[in-house]
C-alpha cells in the first residue's frame, strides 16, 4: 500500500537566527503533527525498524498509540525497552537504525520515528515523568559510577527493582556526556536532562557529585567499607585523542572535549559564568563525527568563522545526517578529503594556521570504508587562530589502575560478558567504558542489561548465604 501523506516536516529555528544563539534547533512535533505523522506507519507485520533499534523498542505499537492519541500508552510501550526517549529521540542516529530500515524509505521518506519518540518522551516528562512499577525496598545497595546514559539507565531499573542506589559523579553536575558534551542547542539541559534526573530522584536514587571513583573512593572501598553489594561502572570514554603532529601544543589548539566542556558544562558563553573560552576569528575543527559537528557549530555560535576539516569524503562522515545538514544550513564550511599535517604557530606560540594535504579515497579498510590516501605534493595552508581536535575519545584508565582484577583490552575498554559482568566479582560495566565511544542508546541499553545481571548476582549472593 502506497502512502499518500508526505513526511510531516518538523519546525526548526531559522538557521540565520539559531547560528547566533544556543536555543534548541528543533521545536519538535505538536499534537496534530505527531498524530498525522503517526498515521503514516504501515504497521508492518515484520517490522524491520524494531530489529534495527539497538534496544528493540516496539516501534509500530507506540506509533499506533500516538495515532490513537493515547500518548500515555505510547510512553509505557517505549518504557518497556528504553529509559530515555526524550534524549534518544534527539540524539540517536535514526538514519542508520530505525528510520534507515523503514519500508517507506525505500521509495520515499521513512516515518519520522525519532521525532515521534521525542514527542512521546517530552509529553511524558511534561506530565510528571516517572512511571513503571516500583518494587518494595529489598535493602540491598548498589553503587553506580558515572551519571551519563549508562549509569542513569542502570540506576533507574535497579531502583524500580527495589534496590538502594547511589550514583557517584566525578564532575560537579549530573548527566555525564549529556551535560558536558552534547550542546544545549541539540539537547536542552534543564528541560530534558535535569528532568530525567529528577525522575530518578523520585524513584529514591541518591546522587553524589564531586566523587571521583578511583581517587576520592575506590571500587574496593565502596564494596568493603561502604557496604555496597555491587558496583556498576558507566564511566564513559572521556580521554581525548590528539593527532601527534607538530605544533599541537601551541596556544589555541584544544580538544573538542575541552572546548565543549567550557561551553556546555561551564557555560563559558554566558557572561554570568566565570570560565573563559577562546574562540578567535577563524576556527578549524578536525574530525567528522557528532562531536566535531557540536564543536564547529558551538564555535560558529560564539562568533567565529568555522570550518570542518575531514580526511574522507562527505559520504563517510560519521556524524548524524541531521547534524551535518544543520551545520551546512548554519554556514559551516566543509573541507572534505583534507588532512592536517602540522599546526602553524606565530613567534609568540599562538596558532596562526594549519598545514594540510589533500586526500583521495583508496581501497576499503578494516571498517569497510574506503581509506584515504595522501595526494603527494598537494600541501596547502588554512589560516586560523583556533584548532579544535575532534578525533575521538577513549576510556579513562583510572578505574583500571585502582581496581584489582578489573581487566581491560588493549584499547583500555573494560572487558565484560554479554550481560555486563566484568572480570571482578560483583563489578559490572556498560556503555562507552566497555565499547569505546559509541551512542547514547547503546549505553542506555547496556546499563539496563547490567541492571538485570546485578539483580541476578545479588539475589544469588543472598540465597547462597541462607
Amino acid at each position: 500500500m502506497a502512502n499518500k501523506i508526505p513526511r510531516v516536516a518538523v519546525r526548526e529555528q531559522d538557521p540565520a537566527v539559531r547560528a547566533t544563539n544556543f536555543e534548541e534547533v528543533c521545536y519538535g512535533y505538536n499534537d496534530e503533527e505527531a498524530c498525522l505523522e503517526a498515521t503514516r506507519c504501515l504497521a508492518c507485520r515484520r517490522p524491520r525498524c524494531v530489529e534495527a533499534c539497538p534496544v528493540n523498542i516496539n516501534i509500530p505499537a507506540f506509533i499506533a498509540e500516538v495515532a490513537k492519541g493515547d500518548i500515555a500508552a505510547a510512553a509505557e510501550t517505549i518504557a518497556a525497552d528504553s529509559s530515555l526517549p526524550s534524549i534518544c529521540g534527539r540524539v540517536c542516529p535514526q538514519e542508520t537504525q530505525c528510520e534507515g530500515s523503514c519500508v517507506l524509505g525505500v521509495k520515499g521518506e521513512p516515518v519520522a520515528i525519532g521525532k515521534l519518540e521525542r514527542y512521546v518522551g517530552d509529553w511524558h516528562l511534561a506530565h510528571g515523568g516517572g512511571g513503571g512499577r516500583i518494587a518494595a525496598a529489598n535493602g540491598h545497595r548498589v553503587a553506580v559510577v558515572g551519571s551519563g546514559p549508562a549509569g542513569l539507565a542502570c540506576a533507574s531499573d535497579l531502583a524500580k527493582m527495589g534496590y538502594d542506589v547511589t550514583v557517584f559523579e566525578a564532575l560537579h553536575k549530573l548527566g555525564g556526556v549529556l551535560v558536558y558534551g552534547i550542546p544545549e542547542f541539540r539537547l536542552p539541559k534543564d528541560k530534558v536532562v535535569a528532568r530525567e534526573i529528577d525522575t530518578l530522584r523520585g524513584l529514591g536514587v541518591r546522587f553524589e557529585t564531586d566523587v571521583i571513583v578511583g581517587r576520592t573512593v575506590t571500587v574496593d572501598s565502596l564494596m568493603e567499607e561502604e557496604g555496597f553489594d555491587a558496583v556498576f561502572i558507566g564511566s564513559g570514554a572521556g580521554l581525548p585523542r590528539f593527532m601527534g603532529i607538530e605544533g599541537e601544543n601551541l596556544n589555541g589548539v584544544v580538544s573538542a572535549n575541552e572546548f565543549l566542556t567550557r561551553a556546555n558544562l561551564m557555560h563559558a558563553y554566558d557572561e554570568v559564568y566565570d570560565t573563559p573560552i577562546y574562540v578567535g576569528k577563524r576556527v578549524v575543527v578536525v574530525g567528522g563525527g557528532n562531536v566535531a559537528m557540536d564543536a564547529v557549530r558551538t564555535a560558529k555560535r560564539l562568533g567565529a568563522e568555522a570550518t570542518i576539516v575531514y580526511r574522507r569524503s562527505e559520504a563517510e562522515l560519521p556524524a548524524r545526517r541531521e547534524e551535518v545538514l544543520h551545520a551546512r544550513e548554519e554556514g559551516i564550511e566543509f573541507r572534505m578529503l583534507t588532512n592536517p599535517t602540522r599546526v602553524l604557530g606565530s613567534d609568540k606560540g599562538w596558532v596562526r594556521g594549519i598545514s594540510c594535504v589533500r586526500m583521495k579515497l583508496g581501497e576499503p579498510d578494516g571498517s569497510g570504508r574506503r581509506s584515504p590516501v595522501v595526494i603527494e605534493g598537494s600541501d596547502f595552508d588554512i589560516e586560523c587562530d583556533v584548532v579544535i581536535m575532534a578525533l575521538g575519545t577513549s576510556p579513562n584508565p583510572l578505574l583500571k589502575r585502582t581496581t584489582a582484577g578489573l581487566e581491560t583490552d588493549r584499547r583500555g575498554c573494560i572487558v565484560t560478558d554479554d550481560a555486563g559482568a566484568t572480570t571482578r566479582q560483583g563489578v559490572f560495566a556498560g556503555g562507552d567504558a566497555v565499547t569505546g565511544a559509541a551512542t547514547v542508546i547503546l549505553a542506555m541499553g547496556a546499563g539496563r542489561r547490567a541492571a538485570r545481571a546485578i539483580d541476578e548476582y545479588v539475589r544469588g549472593k543472598y540465597s547462597e548465604a541462607k
Partner: protein, 286 residues
C-alpha cells in the same frame, strides 16, 4: 557544599581555608590536588592540597587572590561553603611508594616559593612522620610575604629562608641558596623537590642540573575537569606530551619544557584580565 571551618590570612592576598571534605581528607596523600568551585557560576580551579586531617575530615587549601575566581574564593568567610571541592586528584608524590628503609637513606631538599610553600608542607610533614630527614628552603620577595615558616620549622630538619630583598634570611633567590648550601656549606642531597611559580621551578631545575641533583617539580597547569578529560593541562616532558592532571602533577624537572608550559599557562590571560576588570568594577565601582 563544603563548609569552611577556618579561614586565616597568611600574607598580603594569601589566605588559608580549612574545609570540611571528609572523603577527600580520608584519601589524600602528599602531592595531590583538588578542584574547587566557589559557587555555581565559578570556574573549576585546581589547588594543591596544603594539609589534610582524617580525624576531623578537613582539607586545607592555600589561595593567592590574583584572579577573579581566587578573589571570590578568598571573599568567603568561616561558616560559608564552597559549592564544590573534588579530589584528591593527580598522583601522590613518588616517595610515598618507596620502601621506608630505602627512603631513610636519602636526603631531600625542598625548594618552596611563594604560595607554592603550602603544598610543600604536607610532603615534608609526611617524610618527618616517617623518619626521613628533609631540608627546606622557603623563598619570597620580602619577609612579609613568607608563609608556613612556623609549621615548616616543626617538620623540617633545617629550614632556610631566602628573600629577594634580604629582609629575612639569605638575601637573594632560592637558586642562590641552593648553590650556597651545596658549595659553601658542603651539603649533599639525593633528591630535590621544587614547588612554586613556574619561572622559579625552571631556574631551580637549571641549577640542580649542574650538580646532577634529581629534581621533581609540581606543575600548576590550566585545567578544566582535572580528571583527564579536557587535555588543557598538556605538558611536554622529555619530548612526550603528558597530561598534568593524570600523569602528574609532579614531573622530572630536568625534562619539563618550562617555556612551553609558561606560554600555555597564559592562554586565557587576556580574557582573565578583562574579567578581573569587570569584577573589580562590580565590586568596588559603585
Amino acid at each position: 557544599m563544603f563548609r569552611i571551618v577556618e579561614k586565616k590570612q597568611l600574607a598580603d592576598n594569601i589566605y588559608k581555608l580549612r574545609v570540611e571534605a571528609p572523603r577527600v581528607a580520608h584519601s589524600a596523600l602528599p602531592g595531590q590536588f583538588v578542584i574547587v568551585c566557589t559557587d555555581e557560576y565559578g570556574e573549576r580551579v585546581p589547588l594543591t592540597i596544603a594539609d589534610y586531617d582524617t580525624s576531623d575530615g578537613t582539607v586545607t587549601i592555600v589561595i593567592q587572590a590574583i584572579g577573579m575566581s581566587t578573589r571570590k574564593m578568598c571573599a568567603l568567610g568561616e561558616g560559608d561553603a564552597l559549592a564544590d571541592l573534588a579530589g584528591p586528584l593527580g598522583n601522590p608524590s613518588e616517595f610515598v611508594n618507596i620502601p621506608l628503609d630505602e627512603l631513610r637513606r636519602r636526603r631531600y631538599l625542598f625548594v618552596a616559593g611563594g604560595v607554592g610553600t603550602a603544598p610543600v608542607y604536607p610532603q615534608v610533614k609526611w617524610l618527618c612522620e616517617h623518619g626521613v630527614a628533609a631540608d627546606v628552603i622557603i623563598g619570597a620577595k620580602t619577609a612579609s610575604m613568607l608563609i608556613y615558616t612556623d609549621e615548616m620549622r616543626r617538620v623540617a630538619d633545617n629550614l632556610y629562608i631566602a628573600t629577594d630583598d634580604g629582609s629575612e634570611g639569605f638575601k637573594g633567590m632560592v637558586t642562590g641558596k641552593v648553590r650556597d648550601l651545596i658549595e659553601n656549606e658542603g651539603r649533599h642531597y639525593d633528591e630535590c623537590v621544587a614547588i612554586g611559580p613556574m619561572i622559579m621551578m625552571k631556574f631551580v631545575a637549571l641549577t640542580t642540573r649542574e650538580y646532577g641533583l634529581p629534581t621533581t617539580v609540581s606543575l600548576n597547569a590550566l585545567m578544566v575537569d582535572g580528571t583527564g578529560m579536557c587535555g588543557a593541562c598538556r605538558v611536554s616532558v622529555g619530548g612526550q606530551t603528558l597530561f598534568t592532571c593524570v600523569d602528574g602533577p609532579e614531573f622530572d624537572g630536568h625534562k619539563v619544557d618550562f617555556d612551553e608550559a609558561m606560554r600555555r599557562q597564559a592562554m586565557y590571560r587576556v580574557q582573565e584580565g578583562e574579567a578581573n576588570e569587570k569584577h573589580k568594577c562590580e565590586c568596588y565601582g559603585k
